[in-house]
Protein backbone atom coordinates (compact mmCIF):
# COMPACT_ATOMS: atom_id res chain seq x y z
CA UNK A 1 0.00 0.00 0.00
CA UNK A 2 1.34 3.41 -0.89
CA UNK A 3 1.32 6.36 1.47
CA UNK A 4 -0.76 8.38 -0.92
CA UNK A 5 -1.12 9.20 -4.54
CA UNK A 6 1.89 9.70 -6.78
CA UNK A 7 2.94 13.14 -7.88
CA UNK A 8 3.95 14.14 -11.34
CA UNK A 9 5.20 17.18 -13.14
CA UNK A 10 5.15 18.70 -16.61
CA UNK A 11 8.19 20.44 -18.00
CA UNK A 12 8.26 23.14 -20.65
CA UNK A 13 9.43 20.55 -23.21
CA UNK A 14 6.50 18.24 -22.47
CA UNK A 15 4.19 21.18 -22.76
CA UNK A 16 5.60 22.29 -26.13
CA UNK A 17 5.44 18.79 -27.62
CA UNK A 18 1.85 18.28 -26.47
CA UNK A 19 0.76 21.70 -27.68
CA UNK A 20 2.27 21.15 -31.13
CA UNK A 21 0.56 17.81 -31.48
CA UNK A 22 -2.81 19.20 -30.43
CA UNK A 23 -2.51 22.22 -32.74
CA UNK A 24 -1.95 19.90 -35.67
CA UNK A 25 -4.95 17.82 -34.68
CA UNK A 26 -7.20 20.89 -34.41
CA UNK A 27 -6.06 22.05 -37.86
CA UNK A 28 -6.66 18.64 -39.46
CA UNK A 29 -10.13 18.25 -37.98
CA UNK A 30 -11.21 21.89 -38.05
CA UNK A 31 -12.14 21.67 -34.36
CA UNK A 32 -12.34 24.72 -32.12
CA UNK A 33 -10.44 23.82 -29.03
CA UNK A 34 -8.69 21.00 -27.15
CA UNK A 35 -8.34 20.63 -23.41
CA UNK A 36 -6.05 18.16 -21.72
CA UNK A 37 -7.28 17.25 -18.26
CA UNK A 38 -5.88 14.82 -15.71
CA UNK A 39 -8.13 12.13 -14.27
CA UNK A 40 -8.48 14.00 -11.01
CA UNK A 41 -9.94 17.00 -12.86
CA UNK A 42 -6.95 19.29 -13.03
CA UNK A 43 -6.47 21.17 -16.26
CA UNK A 44 -3.11 20.50 -17.90
CA UNK A 45 -3.44 22.75 -20.92
CA UNK A 46 -5.81 24.22 -23.48
CA UNK A 47 -5.01 24.70 -27.16
CA UNK A 48 -6.96 26.44 -29.90
CA UNK A 49 -9.64 29.11 -29.75
CA UNK A 50 -9.99 30.73 -26.38
CA UNK A 51 -13.60 30.06 -25.52
CA UNK A 52 -15.41 32.07 -22.90
CA UNK A 53 -15.92 29.15 -20.58
CA UNK A 54 -14.71 28.44 -17.07
CA UNK A 55 -11.97 25.94 -17.95
CA UNK A 56 -11.31 24.94 -14.32
CA UNK A 57 -14.94 23.95 -13.78
CA UNK A 58 -15.04 22.38 -17.22
CA UNK A 59 -12.01 20.20 -16.43
CA UNK A 60 -13.47 19.02 -13.12
CA UNK A 61 -16.82 18.14 -14.60
CA UNK A 62 -15.18 16.32 -17.51
CA UNK A 63 -13.18 14.14 -15.14
CA UNK A 64 -16.28 13.42 -13.04
CA UNK A 65 -18.31 12.68 -16.16
CA UNK A 66 -15.67 10.31 -17.47
CA UNK A 67 -15.20 8.55 -14.13
CA UNK A 68 -18.94 8.01 -13.80
CA UNK A 69 -19.00 6.52 -17.30
CA UNK A 70 -16.08 4.28 -16.43
CA UNK A 71 -18.14 2.84 -13.61
CA UNK A 72 -21.17 2.47 -15.85
CA UNK A 73 -18.99 0.48 -18.26
CA UNK A 74 -17.94 -1.85 -15.46
CA UNK A 75 -21.56 -2.36 -14.41
CA UNK A 76 -22.41 -3.65 -17.88
CA UNK A 77 -19.31 -5.85 -17.96
CA UNK A 78 -17.00 -3.65 -20.07
CA UNK A 79 -13.50 -2.66 -19.01
CA UNK A 80 -14.15 0.91 -20.03
CA UNK A 81 -15.86 3.06 -22.63
CA UNK A 82 -12.83 4.49 -24.38
CA UNK A 83 -14.54 7.71 -25.43
CA UNK A 84 -17.54 9.91 -24.75
CA UNK A 85 -19.50 12.07 -27.13
CA UNK A 86 -21.98 14.79 -26.18
CA UNK A 87 -23.87 16.34 -29.04
CA UNK A 88 -25.33 19.82 -28.82
CA UNK A 89 -27.30 21.94 -31.26
CA UNK A 90 -24.24 24.04 -32.11
CA UNK A 91 -21.32 22.79 -30.02
CA UNK A 92 -20.34 19.21 -29.32
CA UNK A 93 -17.65 17.61 -27.23
CA UNK A 94 -15.68 14.44 -27.65
CA UNK A 95 -13.69 13.01 -24.72
CA UNK A 96 -11.07 10.28 -25.02
CA UNK A 97 -8.79 8.56 -22.55
CA UNK A 98 -5.02 8.95 -22.87
CA UNK A 99 -2.98 6.19 -21.23
CA UNK A 100 -5.48 5.90 -18.33
CA UNK A 101 -3.93 9.09 -16.96
CA UNK A 102 -5.35 12.00 -18.88
CA UNK A 103 -8.44 12.94 -20.82
CA UNK A 104 -8.43 14.73 -24.14
CA UNK A 105 -11.49 16.90 -24.70
CA UNK A 106 -12.23 18.25 -28.16
CA UNK A 107 -14.82 20.99 -28.56
CA UNK A 108 -16.13 21.35 -32.10
CA UNK A 109 -19.03 22.86 -34.02
CA UNK A 110 -20.78 22.41 -37.37
CA UNK A 111 -17.61 23.27 -39.31
CA UNK A 112 -16.58 19.65 -38.87
CA UNK A 113 -18.19 16.29 -38.15
CA UNK A 114 -17.95 13.78 -35.34
CA UNK A 115 -16.84 11.25 -37.93
CA UNK A 116 -13.75 13.24 -38.86
CA UNK A 117 -12.90 13.95 -35.21
CA UNK A 118 -13.24 10.28 -34.37
CA UNK A 119 -11.23 9.20 -37.41
CA UNK A 120 -8.25 11.40 -36.59
CA UNK A 121 -8.52 10.79 -32.88
CA UNK A 122 -6.95 7.33 -33.01
CA UNK A 123 -3.60 8.58 -34.31
CA UNK A 124 -3.69 11.55 -31.95
CA UNK A 125 -4.26 9.29 -28.95
CA UNK A 126 -1.30 7.15 -29.96
CA UNK A 127 0.93 10.20 -30.30
CA UNK A 128 -0.15 11.71 -26.99
CA UNK A 129 0.17 8.36 -25.23
CA UNK A 130 3.86 8.28 -26.13
CA UNK A 131 4.37 11.82 -24.84
CA UNK A 132 2.41 11.20 -21.65
CA UNK A 133 4.22 7.92 -20.97
CA UNK A 134 7.44 9.88 -21.07
CA UNK A 135 6.15 12.24 -18.36
CA UNK A 136 5.00 9.42 -16.11
CA UNK A 137 7.97 7.12 -16.60
CA UNK A 138 10.16 10.00 -15.48
CA UNK A 139 7.96 10.35 -12.39
CA UNK A 140 8.36 6.68 -11.56
CA UNK A 141 12.14 6.73 -11.98
CA UNK A 142 12.32 9.33 -9.24
CA UNK A 143 13.80 12.09 -11.41
CA UNK A 144 10.69 14.21 -10.97
CA UNK A 145 9.35 16.13 -9.18
CA UNK A 146 12.77 17.68 -8.68
CA UNK A 147 12.28 18.73 -5.05
CA UNK A 148 10.68 22.01 -5.94
CA UNK A 149 9.54 22.63 -2.38
CA UNK A 150 12.50 21.08 -0.64
CA UNK A 151 13.46 23.23 2.32
CA UNK A 152 10.47 25.50 1.73
CA UNK A 153 8.90 24.85 5.15
CA UNK A 154 9.29 28.46 6.25
CA UNK A 155 7.75 29.74 3.06
CA UNK A 156 4.85 27.33 3.48
CA UNK A 157 4.31 28.53 7.04
CA UNK A 158 4.31 32.16 5.89
CA UNK A 159 1.76 31.36 3.20
CA UNK A 160 -0.75 30.61 5.93
CA UNK A 161 -0.26 33.73 7.98
CA UNK A 162 -3.73 34.96 7.22
Amino acid sequence: MTAGTANWSFTQDDFTAITESLKRFLGETNSRCALLVDRSGQLVTTVGESLSLDTTAFATLTAADYSANDQLAKLVGENDFSSLFHQGEKESIYVADIARRLLLVIIFDSRTTVGLVRLRMKAEIEELTLLVDRVFSRGRSGAAPPGLLKGADDEIDKLFNW
Partner: protein, 225 residues
Protein backbone atom coordinates in the same frame (compact mmCIF):
# COMPACT_ATOMS: atom_id res chain seq x y z
CA UNK B 1 -2.10 13.32 -6.97
CA UNK B 2 -0.65 16.77 -6.94
CA UNK B 3 0.38 18.10 -10.29
CA UNK B 4 3.21 20.53 -10.84
CA UNK B 5 2.80 22.39 -14.10
CA UNK B 6 6.01 24.15 -15.00
CA UNK B 7 4.48 25.72 -18.08
CA UNK B 8 1.75 27.59 -16.20
CA UNK B 9 3.82 27.65 -12.98
CA UNK B 10 1.13 26.07 -10.84
CA UNK B 11 0.99 23.44 -8.16
CA UNK B 12 -2.42 21.78 -8.17
CA UNK B 13 -3.64 19.76 -5.20
CA UNK B 14 -6.90 18.02 -4.39
CA UNK B 15 -8.52 18.13 -0.97
CA UNK B 16 -11.68 16.17 -0.17
CA UNK B 17 -14.15 16.90 2.63
CA UNK B 18 -15.63 13.62 3.80
CA UNK B 19 -18.20 12.78 6.46
CA UNK B 20 -21.78 11.79 7.24
CA UNK B 21 -24.78 13.36 5.52
CA UNK B 22 -25.85 16.80 6.76
CA UNK B 23 -22.61 17.14 8.73
CA UNK B 24 -21.61 20.48 7.15
CA UNK B 25 -19.19 19.61 4.34
CA UNK B 26 -20.91 21.81 1.78
CA UNK B 27 -21.28 24.55 4.41
CA UNK B 28 -17.49 24.56 4.84
CA UNK B 29 -17.02 25.18 1.13
CA UNK B 30 -19.75 27.81 1.02
CA UNK B 31 -18.04 29.70 3.81
CA UNK B 32 -14.67 29.58 2.05
CA UNK B 33 -16.35 30.72 -1.16
CA UNK B 34 -17.98 33.67 0.60
CA UNK B 35 -14.85 34.79 2.42
CA UNK B 36 -11.95 34.57 0.00
CA UNK B 37 -11.35 37.34 -2.52
CA UNK B 38 -13.21 36.67 -5.78
CA UNK B 39 -9.97 36.91 -7.79
CA UNK B 40 -8.45 34.02 -5.84
CA UNK B 41 -11.26 31.56 -6.31
CA UNK B 42 -13.30 30.05 -9.10
CA UNK B 43 -16.97 29.18 -9.23
CA UNK B 44 -18.54 26.94 -6.62
CA UNK B 45 -19.95 24.04 -8.58
CA UNK B 46 -22.63 21.95 -6.89
CA UNK B 47 -24.02 18.79 -8.34
CA UNK B 48 -26.95 18.56 -5.98
CA UNK B 49 -30.53 17.31 -5.90
CA UNK B 50 -33.40 19.76 -6.04
CA UNK B 51 -33.49 19.67 -2.23
CA UNK B 52 -29.85 20.82 -2.13
CA UNK B 53 -28.47 17.49 -0.97
CA UNK B 54 -25.12 16.78 -2.63
CA UNK B 55 -25.65 14.23 -5.37
CA UNK B 56 -22.16 13.84 -6.79
CA UNK B 57 -19.88 16.55 -5.37
CA UNK B 58 -19.34 20.24 -4.71
CA UNK B 59 -16.20 21.77 -6.09
CA UNK B 60 -14.36 24.98 -5.34
CA UNK B 61 -10.92 25.96 -6.68
CA UNK B 62 -8.95 28.42 -4.51
CA UNK B 63 -5.49 29.93 -4.86
CA UNK B 64 -3.74 30.11 -1.52
CA UNK B 65 -0.69 32.13 -2.58
CA UNK B 66 2.67 31.70 -4.28
CA UNK B 67 5.64 29.58 -3.25
CA UNK B 68 8.91 29.77 -5.15
CA UNK B 69 7.12 31.44 -8.04
CA UNK B 70 4.46 28.76 -8.27
CA UNK B 71 0.79 29.46 -7.69
CA UNK B 72 -0.62 27.00 -5.15
CA UNK B 73 -4.03 26.05 -6.40
CA UNK B 74 -6.23 23.85 -4.23
CA UNK B 75 -9.24 22.04 -5.57
CA UNK B 76 -11.71 21.50 -2.73
CA UNK B 77 -14.30 18.77 -3.12
CA UNK B 78 -17.08 17.45 -0.93
CA UNK B 79 -18.58 14.01 -1.29
CA UNK B 80 -22.26 13.09 -0.92
CA UNK B 81 -22.63 11.97 2.69
CA UNK B 82 -25.66 9.77 2.31
CA UNK B 83 -24.81 6.10 2.65
CA UNK B 84 -26.29 4.93 -0.67
CA UNK B 85 -24.09 7.25 -2.77
CA UNK B 86 -20.95 5.25 -2.12
CA UNK B 87 -20.12 4.67 -5.78
CA UNK B 88 -19.89 8.38 -6.53
CA UNK B 89 -18.23 9.08 -3.17
CA UNK B 90 -15.46 6.67 -4.01
CA UNK B 91 -14.86 8.30 -7.39
CA UNK B 92 -14.16 11.64 -5.76
CA UNK B 93 -11.43 10.11 -3.58
CA UNK B 94 -9.38 9.12 -6.60
CA UNK B 95 -6.04 10.95 -6.64
CA UNK B 96 -6.78 12.85 -3.43
CA UNK B 97 -3.88 14.71 -1.77
CA UNK B 98 -5.46 15.66 1.54
CA UNK B 99 -8.56 14.77 3.54
CA UNK B 100 -10.84 16.53 5.97
CA UNK B 101 -13.33 14.44 7.90
CA UNK B 102 -16.25 16.66 8.93
CA UNK B 103 -17.88 14.97 11.90
CA UNK B 104 -21.29 15.95 13.29
CA UNK B 105 -20.88 16.66 17.01
CA UNK B 106 -24.47 15.80 17.91
CA UNK B 107 -24.50 12.78 20.22
CA UNK B 108 -27.21 11.05 18.20
CA UNK B 109 -25.06 11.28 15.03
CA UNK B 110 -22.21 9.28 16.57
CA UNK B 111 -23.16 6.12 14.75
CA UNK B 112 -23.38 7.97 11.41
CA UNK B 113 -19.93 9.46 12.09
CA UNK B 114 -18.44 6.06 12.83
CA UNK B 115 -20.01 4.51 9.77
CA UNK B 116 -18.68 7.30 7.55
CA UNK B 117 -15.18 7.09 9.04
CA UNK B 118 -15.10 3.34 8.46
CA UNK B 119 -16.34 3.90 4.92
CA UNK B 120 -13.53 6.42 4.35
CA UNK B 121 -10.88 3.94 5.50
CA UNK B 122 -12.44 1.21 3.34
CA UNK B 123 -12.68 3.33 0.20
CA UNK B 124 -9.14 4.64 0.60
CA UNK B 125 -7.74 1.19 1.10
CA UNK B 126 -9.54 -0.08 -2.00
CA UNK B 127 -7.49 2.46 -3.96
CA UNK B 128 -4.37 1.29 -2.14
CA UNK B 129 -3.97 4.53 -0.18
CA UNK B 130 -3.05 4.48 3.49
CA UNK B 131 -4.99 7.22 5.25
CA UNK B 132 -2.66 7.18 8.25
CA UNK B 133 0.25 8.21 6.01
CA UNK B 134 -1.55 11.07 4.30
CA UNK B 135 -2.44 14.69 5.12
CA UNK B 136 -5.60 14.15 7.16
CA UNK B 137 -7.44 16.36 9.64
CA UNK B 138 -10.72 15.98 11.52
CA UNK B 139 -13.24 18.72 12.09
CA UNK B 140 -15.90 18.40 14.79
CA UNK B 141 -18.68 20.58 13.49
CA UNK B 142 -21.83 21.98 15.14
CA UNK B 143 -20.11 22.65 18.46
CA UNK B 144 -22.78 25.23 19.29
CA UNK B 145 -25.63 22.75 19.47
CA UNK B 146 -26.93 21.83 22.94
CA UNK B 147 -26.74 18.11 22.15
CA UNK B 148 -23.09 18.26 21.05
CA UNK B 149 -21.06 15.41 22.54
CA UNK B 150 -17.92 16.30 24.55
CA UNK B 151 -14.73 16.51 22.47
CA UNK B 152 -13.15 13.70 24.53
CA UNK B 153 -15.96 11.33 23.51
CA UNK B 154 -15.65 12.29 19.84
CA UNK B 155 -11.88 11.90 19.93
CA UNK B 156 -12.13 8.51 21.63
CA UNK B 157 -14.60 7.26 19.05
CA UNK B 158 -13.36 8.84 15.82
CA UNK B 159 -9.70 9.65 16.42
CA UNK B 160 -8.38 7.03 18.85
CA UNK B 161 -5.04 7.00 17.02
CA UNK B 162 -3.16 4.45 15.01
CA UNK B 163 -0.04 2.62 15.99
CA UNK B 164 3.24 4.30 15.05
CA UNK B 165 5.28 1.56 13.48
CA UNK B 166 8.27 3.57 12.34
CA UNK B 167 10.74 3.79 15.26
CA UNK B 168 12.07 7.21 14.16
CA UNK B 169 8.58 8.71 14.52
CA UNK B 170 8.22 7.43 18.08
CA UNK B 171 8.74 10.67 19.92
CA UNK B 172 6.24 12.86 21.72
CA UNK B 173 4.92 15.42 19.25
CA UNK B 174 2.78 18.17 20.74
CA UNK B 175 -0.46 19.16 19.04
CA UNK B 176 0.27 22.70 17.75
CA UNK B 177 -3.42 23.53 17.87
CA UNK B 178 -4.24 22.34 21.42
CA UNK B 179 -1.95 23.16 24.32
CA UNK B 180 -1.19 20.21 26.56
CA UNK B 181 -2.23 17.60 23.99
CA UNK B 182 -0.05 15.46 21.75
CA UNK B 183 -0.41 14.21 18.20
CA UNK B 184 2.09 11.42 18.82
CA UNK B 185 2.49 9.92 22.29
CA UNK B 186 3.08 6.73 24.21
CA UNK B 187 0.05 5.22 25.92
CA UNK B 188 0.34 3.86 29.48
CA UNK B 189 0.41 0.36 27.98
CA UNK B 190 3.63 1.26 26.13
CA UNK B 191 2.11 1.52 22.67
CA UNK B 192 2.97 4.57 20.52
CA UNK B 193 0.00 6.16 18.79
CA UNK B 194 -0.53 9.03 16.39
CA UNK B 195 -3.77 10.97 16.00
CA UNK B 196 -4.97 13.25 13.24
CA UNK B 197 -5.05 16.98 14.09
CA UNK B 198 -8.59 18.00 15.02
CA UNK B 199 -10.55 21.25 15.01
CA UNK B 200 -13.79 22.38 16.57
CA UNK B 201 -16.11 24.25 14.25
CA UNK B 202 -19.41 25.97 13.79
CA UNK B 203 -19.33 26.00 10.02
CA UNK B 204 -22.56 27.98 9.55
CA UNK B 205 -20.87 30.86 11.34
CA UNK B 206 -17.49 30.16 9.78
CA UNK B 207 -15.82 29.26 13.09
CA UNK B 208 -12.99 26.80 12.55
CA UNK B 209 -13.51 26.58 8.79
CA UNK B 210 -10.29 28.35 7.79
CA UNK B 211 -8.28 26.75 10.60
CA UNK B 212 -9.21 23.37 9.17
CA UNK B 213 -8.42 24.37 5.59
CA UNK B 214 -5.12 25.94 6.53
CA UNK B 215 -4.03 22.88 8.51
CA UNK B 216 -4.78 20.40 5.76
CA UNK B 217 -3.30 22.53 2.96
CA UNK B 218 -0.16 23.05 4.94
CA UNK B 219 0.18 19.30 5.46
CA UNK B 220 -0.34 18.73 1.73
CA UNK B 221 2.37 21.22 0.74
CA UNK B 222 4.75 19.88 3.35
CA UNK B 223 4.20 16.38 1.99
CA UNK B 224 5.48 17.70 -1.34
CA UNK B 225 8.54 19.36 0.19
Amino acid sequence: MSMINYASREINCKIVYYGPGLGGKTTNLEHVYGKVKPETRGKLISLATETERTLFFDFLPVDLGTIRGFKTRFHLYTVPGQVYYNASRKLILKNVDGLVFVGDSQAERMEANLESMQNLYDNMSEYGYDLTQMPFVIQYNKRDLPNAAPIEDLQAALNPGWEVEEPTKRRVTPDPYHAGENLIEQLPGGEWVERAPYFEAIAVQGDGVFDTLKAVSKLVLKALA
